[in-house]
């Protein structure tokens, strides 16, 4: 099985996911402050229930942010791991080559 990865492309996709998470986190905050408005606008049963629903909205949207953030972290982490592995392999090859007697390199 072959493995191929275009570092820059995957890095860009990871960054796009991070940007998406950041964008949506603003909406999660907005839902949180809106929940407060819902909880105070019509005191009594209406605000009690609507405020609770607003809080659930905030949690749900924050969960979406977490999902996008986790995916972003996974992609960016994978690219970093591949790059580190490649660098380590390169170092080992260089070290092996340096250990060879002159004339056999």
């Amino acid at each position: 099985m072959s493995i191929a990865i275009q570092f820059d492309v995957v890095q860009a996709l990871g960054e796009e996911l991070a940007a998406l998470a950041t964008e949506l986190s603003g909406d999660a905050d907005l839902c949180g402050s809106t929940a407060v408005s819902l909880a105070t606008a019509a005191p009594g049963e209406v605000s009690e229930h609507a405020g609770a629903t607003g809080q659930l909205w905030a949690v749900l949207v924050a969960d979406l942010v977490a999902g996008a953030q986790a995916a972003s972290t996974a992609l960016l982490g994978a690219v970093r791991s591949y790059r580190l592995a490649d660098a380590a392999l390169s170092d080992r090859l260089l070290a092996t080559r340096a250990a060879l007697p002159v004339g056999t390199r």
Binding site: E45, L56, W57, A66, G67
Partner: protein
């Protein structure tokens, strides 16, 4: 909890409530384009062009699960929003009625309690020896007081009933969130959400569109599916997904490539030869680094449409409908023609993004002597297919939240018998979803330009193109003044086959039409 007091309802800040609900509505409106962008990332990974291997596929799968969650959450929030909107509407009604009841009570001297009961002060007894007129006035005043009390009580009762409806709607506003495992007091984290969505099967496609479903409905159905659901439908029903008008081109391409693989794998199948020809064209283009999409593919019927470019994002789209003598073995030449049109459009508008389609969505007659070239059966079938594809393109682009539902400029460039296909397409019920038509070397058309349902109709007829004047087999010559098309420049020796020649003026003019840079009479 006890019912709210009338004065409390009158004091509700309904503007604040409305504002809060509008804010949540705005959040729900931003979610679909957000989701579309995220799914673009998932597709890029899934296509394995940038990351192949187990880890890449695992990452794509994980993103697909996120998509499933976003889809389910978006749907749940939308239903919750409906109930919050009901809440706000009923609360406004309750507040206005309560305020009105209290105001009228003050004016009329009626006392109203918090439960909405209204009473008027007991009137003083009539003076002894009052005249009959004075007694009549006294009892009129008592009756008026009772009427006022009844009216205030009615307003108060209506207010409290509306308040109760608002409370009921608010109480139900969290219920839709249960579909993603959310209940008051126990919201899950993202992992919990994924589990709830998977267990609930909410990403599973509930049903498939049936024949006759409008492209707009198809587009809406597709938009409601998560990426995993789309993948399931595509792998189970590639024949359906590959041909559904209203789906984005990337989806049809993915499904049609599955069909192509299957046809290639079965040399004994009737459509194997078609598959080989199509695969060769796709391979040729991809090897040259040119993006292509397999927009339509029916191996058994030898019907195919290859997009040169990206039909989902192009600002200007040209659909090339060839005429007599073309079949799938000519896809290479048709691709050259389609790319020539695209290049001409880019020359006319260098900043434009352009996609052109080599459209063989019908089976042109084999040659001009074939009986099918002189009748319109093939054109009728092709016209229906062309109208459907154009409507599907408009519906898919109109439903794309990632690009603000902006429609591309669409030009159909038809050659020879292809113009007869356009003629029949315009007869299909509903407006033809096209901005401009370019008719090249036409053997005549039944309709005149004004009847072709396009804002612009251009035509080119070479003096040495016998098809345009030898016999008006299919109707009015398109260069006749009665037809009403805008003529494009032609060299005298363009004949019937050189309208898309890169060294002649007609192609440049076609490019200007496709790019929207050429005026029309």
């Amino acid at each position: 909890m006890s019912a709210p007091a009338l004065t409390a309802v009158a004091a509700w800040d309904v503007a604040l409530l409305d504002g809060a609900v509008h804010t949540l509505e705005a959040v729900t409106e931003r979610l679909p384009p957000w989701r579309a962008r995220m799914e673009s990332v998932a597709r890029a990974l899934h296509d394995a062009e940038c990351w192949s291997g187990d880890a890449g596929q695992t990452a794509a799968l994980a993103l697909g699960e996120v998509s499933g969650v976003v889809t389910a959450v978006t749907r749940a929030l939308g239903e919750s929003l409906d109930r919050l909107e009901d809440t706000a509407r009923e609360a406004r009604t309750a507040q206005e009625l309560a305020e009105q009841a209290l105001a009228e009570a003050a004016v009329l001297g009626v006392t109203v309690d918090e439960a909405g009961g209204a009473v008027v002060p007991a009137p003083a007894a009539p003076p002894a020896g009052a005249t009959p007129e004075a007694l009549a006035d006294h009892y009129d005043a008592i009756a008026a007081g009772a009427d006022a009390a009844e009216r205030v009580a009615g307003l108060a009762a209506d207010a409290l009933r509306a308040a109760a409806r608002a409370a009921a709607a608010a109480a139900g506003s969290a219920a839709p969130l249960g579909s993603v495992g959310v209940t008051v007091g126990g919201p899950p984290d993202h992992a919990g959400l994924e589990a709830a969505v998977a267990l609930g099967g909410v990403w599973q496609p509930a049903c498939l569109p049936v024949v006759g479903t409008s492209p707009e409905s198809v587009a809406a159905w597709w938009a409601g599916l998560s990426e995993p659901a789309r993948a399931v439908v595509t792998s189970w029903e590639p024949g359906l997904v590959g041909s559904l008008d209203g789906l984005p081109a990337w989806a049809r391409d993915r499904a049609n490539r599955l069909l192509l693989e299957r046809a290639l794998a079965d040399p004994s199948s009737a459509g194997h030869g078609t598959a080989v020809a199509v695969a060769a064209e796709l391979d040729r283009e991809q090897a040259a680094g040119r993006p292509v999409q397999l927009w339509s593919f029916d191996a058994d019927e030898s019907l195919v449409a290859v997009v040169h470019g990206d039909l989902d994002t192009a600002e200007d789209v040209g659909v090339y409908v060839p005429g007599v003598g073309n079949d799938v073995d000519d896809l290479g030449d048709l691709g050259v023609d389609a790319r020539a049109v695209a290049d001409a459009a880019r020359a006319a508008a260098p900043a434009a993004s352009v996609a052109t389609v080599a459209w063989l969505g019908y089976r042109p007659p084999g040659n001009v002597l074939a009986p099918t070239a002189w009748v319109e059966g093939r054109a009728a079938a092709g016209g229906t297919a062309l109208a459907g594809d154009l409507a599907g393109l408009a519906a898919a682009r109109g439903a794309d939240p990632a690009r603000g539902a902006e429609l591309p400029r669409v030009t159909v460039v038809a050659h020879s018998y292809g113009t007869v296909v356009v003629d029949r397409a315009a007869e299909v019920p509903g407006e033809l979803a096209v901005d401009a038509l370019v008719l090249l070397g036409s053997p005549g058309m039944d309709a005149v330009a004004a009847e072709l349902e396009a804002e612009e109709v251009h035509e080119a007829s070479s003096p040495l193109d016998p098809v345009t004047w030898l016999a008006d087999v299919h109707g009015t010559e398109t260069d006749h003044p009665d037809f009403g098309a805008t003529p494009l420049p032609v060299d005298w020796d363009t004949w019937h086959t050189l309208y898309l020649d890169r060294d002649r003026p007609t192609l440049a003019a076609i490019g200007e039409v496709v790019a929207g840079e050429r005026g029309s009479d």
